[in-house]
Point group: C2
Chain length 307, copies 2
């Protein structure tokens, strides 16, 4: 799947992923109203609004970006109905040829991580049948529990030719509380985690890059530079561009000399673009067109800095 | 909710939680067969088997243990249908008066953690209505992203009078890869995380203990001793007893002098007791009675060591 992702990035000249993190207040009233008319002000109504909102965006970006990254928390908050919308979003995005990165940040001890890996990337056996429960192409994974929490994901990635992105250095302000702590007086924890990601990745190599990627926030470009060198064959998923403050010039160190090695996420900046002064002339009715324009602008912005 | 948990622990003289982590191979054939007859060898069939299995156990343990801890990964692996079984299990356990600890190990940056906190402990607003999507009493949370990933959980705990258990030192063999690393030449990462848990807990105090607990594995009793002193008002959820190797004598340091402060989990050792040589005379037909006996033995074993 890393091969497919890279090919799409190259073909579209767009190292960009659109985060589908639909808060209800991002969704235009006309969509919510229509969903509530059909299903009431219920979890089902909210989930329908979320899905229709996503569908509108997917329809206008699938030909310009390689991937989408639904954030499962934004669906899980609407319970079972929300998770159905998560599943429908994945299915629809894949139908449109998009690579789907499930931002699930799962991680646990061995047998439990194996269940998460099966849920999101693999299959489960029920009697004589096999089922792919959520079937994302990639998933994000939390490393705090160490190798035996990661290995089941590696095994499933190998079997299904899928991938994960392991949290190394996250984009949020307090990420440094633990991640930046100096270990043994030598180097910060995020470097130690980066070294493990590099090692884990050797088990599941694609042509030039591993199936095992890393998450490194755009908000910490100096750390990104160090991590880029430490994990030369690791694809880096970069959150934090745009709304969180990361700028295109900050992204340069995340890329390798081949022009590859990083894919930059934007969520709010794309999906809620119509609420941004810059794109508000589109109007709520044409929110998706605003998202397309914002995605094109982002691609141009990033390419102008990193190519 | 920490008050309710403590009161139940005291009344039942049982600092024990039963982990509802139903792998399909733990479930007696007669339950699976019946579920498959009704729903086929489908995700729905698997989920029904899981729920009926749980229900049988809940029916015979609700009067002897204070709490259950369903592990969401074991349900998530069966997709939407599995998550419905997770929800049904929570609802049924609460009807029986059990405290429910959702072992979800969620954690993300601010707004995303807020969505997880709403999903599992709080409520969401849809139009003019409020819904409690999964509505566990407690949830487990991963600390890797730092305070701004934890704060939304604290806020919801305050509002809903619920609680969380933050991963500090997990029970698995490779937990030390990151958690045991020495920070600034001074102390291991798990101690730093423990200090944060202690501090976070001050925001949401119950009578003697905070709503904010910690997970510390039974498999590392010396670390448990240090963490107990470091977090005097923190309830410790202790996994790793039984099948993972932790013994009753190892649990002593996890308790305070008031005889409180820790609750010990056993999953496989209780729910799959009928597969254990010691309890196999019960037979698969009476798997739940085997679980009850195993729970009673566990309570006696722990009390003999710690009281």
């Amino acid at each position: 799947m890393i091969q497919k992702l890279i090919q799409k990035i190259q073909k579209l000249e767009a190292p960009v992923v659109v985060g589908l993190d639909p808060m209800l207040n991002y969704i235009p009233d006309w969509i919510t109203k229509r969903a509530f008319e059909e299903f009431g002000e219920t979890l089902e109504g909210a989930a329908e609004a979320v899905y229709q909102f996503n569908k509108g965006i997917i329809d206008v970006i699938y030909d310009i970006v390689p991937a989408v990254k639904p954030q499962i928390a934004m669906y899980e908050q609407f319970g079972i109905e929300g998770l159905k919308a998560y599943q429908r979003t994945i299915t629809y995005a894949k139908e449109k040829g998009l690579v789907v990165i499930g931002d699930v940040k799962r991680g646990d001890i061995g047998s439990t991580s194996a269940a998460y890996a099966a849920a999101h990337l693999g299959k489960v056996k029920v009697g004589g049948n096999f089922y792919y429960p959520f079937d994302e192409d990639f998933a994000t994974v939390n490393p705090y529990l160490g190798t035996d929490g990661i290995q089941p994901f590696l095994d499933v990635c190998k079997e299904e030719k899928k991938g994960i992105f392991v949290l190394v250095k996250t984009s949020n302000p307090s990420s440094g509380e633990f991640q930046d702590r100096f270990i043994d007086g030598e180097k910060p924890l995020y470097e130690i985690v980066g070294e493990f990601v590099n090692k884990w990745g050797e088990q599941v190599m694609g042509e030039h890059y591993s199936y095992i990627g890393a998450v490194v926030g755009a908000t910490y470009p100096k750390m990104g530079e160090v991590l880029r060198k430490l994990m030369p064959k690791t694809y880096i998923l970069v959150p934090g561009y745009g709304a969180q403050g990361g700028q295109a010039k900050d992204l340069v160190p995340y890329f390798n000399e081949d022009g590859l090695g990083a894919i930059v996420n934007s969520s709010r900046g794309i999906i809620a673009a119509y609420k941004n002064e810059k794109y508000q002339s589109f109007g709520a009715e044409n929110y998706a067109d605003a998202s397309r324009k914002a995605a094109l602008d982002m691609i141009e912005d990033i390419n102008s800095a990193v190519r």
